[in-house]
Amino acid sequence: MLGLFLLPLFAVFVRSINSEFFNYAFSKQALDALKLSLATSTITTVCAILLGTPLAYVLANWKLKYKSWLELLIDLPIVLPPSVAGLALLIAFGRRGLFGSYLNLIGISLPFTTVAVIMAQMFVAAPLYIRSARVGFTGIDKQLEEAANVEGANRWQMFREVMLPLTGKTLLSGAILTWTRALGEFGATILFAGNLEGVTQTMPMAIYLGFERNLGVALALSVMLVIVSVSLLALTRRLEKPDHD
């Protein structure tokens, strides 16, 4: 089992080590893809935090009808094959899509744009953050909230002084998970956003096409992506460790 996990990674590193590695890793195509990947996945993560935190808070604290169904639907993209996600996005927001055709009327066309890349990443990655945040908020002792209420705290103070300190780490590790998932997003992106260097060609896309043109570039990019992902995961693990102070 471990061999299955580790040998492929090992092979990528071994095969990528050659005199051309830095030429490949710093080629214009590779750097464009790296920049685009970092920019889009960061925007995705920021949007996920800004929009997902209130949503998670509401899900954790309000009594809503059909709440469990809503939660299920929000979790769905986590397990959905990315190709389904890409197709669904295209059918919904494409130029002739169910909603995209209306956007098209006012001159907005989403497919093949950087916005489409971010939408695809949001679709598949933001649920990871929302899920962590929801679990975090649910875990807060209700007595603490009542105590804060008695003290006369308003909603914002409650959120800032009680919720955030207690759930900060959970939120952060959720955000990192979203970020790494967004960084690796491929299937939904290639269907919905297409592939154009500097506009929609993210790292996974460049790796896929590199597989067809230049294995060297693909390997160099893979190594970079593995290193970034490992660092981010290591950070999450540190955050998940319980405090002792």
Partner: protein, 255 residues
């Protein structure tokens, strides 16, 4: 296990019973054919016919961009036959000793054609219109044979429509898809206003509007086919290639 074995025995007896008494039932074999994505429709039909003629054979296809197939073969994927959309990928495999020198044969000439969605939203009436500002064109990536040919054709077109024609068209490209079928799909969905594909792909998608590219500015793709050196079914691989080259096979490819 016992039950399974007896089932197999029964099956074998049954098959043997059906076969003419003089010839023993041939062993079932699988023929792995790696073929360019643009061959999907024609080769699927050819494969079915070949299976009908050779009931013990199962033809398994791997359709993808020729360059992807080439990499897969170089990395050890088990293929018996390789049908490429370009000589370049075949030559690379000959260089790498995956294909015997001079064993490949051209079995198909495929021209390029411009495709448009059924309702032609961008109002494209001629090849020259591809340079109109603001239209959305989808090409195959330069790594894919059809993408390379499309760009070669653009070079030729620039000779006819003005030296900046190619740059103007390339500025309209919104995506470089990883195989020709993806180009067809994006135009079919109406996400792109135009694309360049092989004539065979346009024929397979009759609802699309096509604009013929005149011969002097077109590019003809020569498709080579060859058996792989490592093939475990060399005889069968040759038989399959012979069928592709036969009148019957050629008729299917011309459809």
């Amino acid at each position: 296990m016992k039950r399974f074995a007896s089932l197999i025995l029964l099956l074998v007896l049954f098959v043997a019973g059906c076969a003419p008494a003089s010839t023993p039932a041939p062993e079932p074999v699988t023929l792995n054919v790696f073929a360019a994505a643009s061959l999907t429709d024609a080769f699927t039909e050819i494969g079915n016919n070949f299976q009908t003629a050779n009931p013990n054979v199962t033809v398994t296809f791997n359709f993808a961009g020729s360059q992807a197939l080439r990499t897969q073969i170089e990395e050890g994927a088990p293929a018996d036959v390789f049908a490429s959309a370009s000589g370049k990928e075949m030559e690379a495999l000959v260089t790498g000793s995956f294909v015997a020198p001079e064993s490949s044969q051209v079995f198909l000439n495929n021209k390029l054609v411009v495709i448009l969605p059924a309702n032609n939203p961008a109002g494209i009436d001629s090849i020259e219109d591809l340079a109109n500002a603001g239209i959305k064109i989808v090409f195959a990536a330069e790594e894919v044979p059809v993408g390379r040919y499309s760009r070669e054709a653009l070079d030729k077109m620039s000779g006819m429509y003005g030296s900046d024609f190619k740059d103007k068209v390339l500025a309209n490209v919104v995506s470089n898809e990883d195989n020709v079928k993806q180009v067809v799909a994006k135009v079919q969905l109406g996400e792109a206003d135009a694309g360049i594909v092989y004539t065979s792909d346009a024929i397979a998608a009759p609802e699309l509007v096509t604009i013929e590219i005149p011969t002097d500015i077109n590019v003809v793709a020569k498709y080579p086919i060859a058996p792989l050196v490592e093939s475990a079914n060399a005889e069968l691989a040759h038989a399959f290639i012979a069928y592709v080259l036969s009148d019957e096979g050629q008729a299917i490819l011309q459809k």
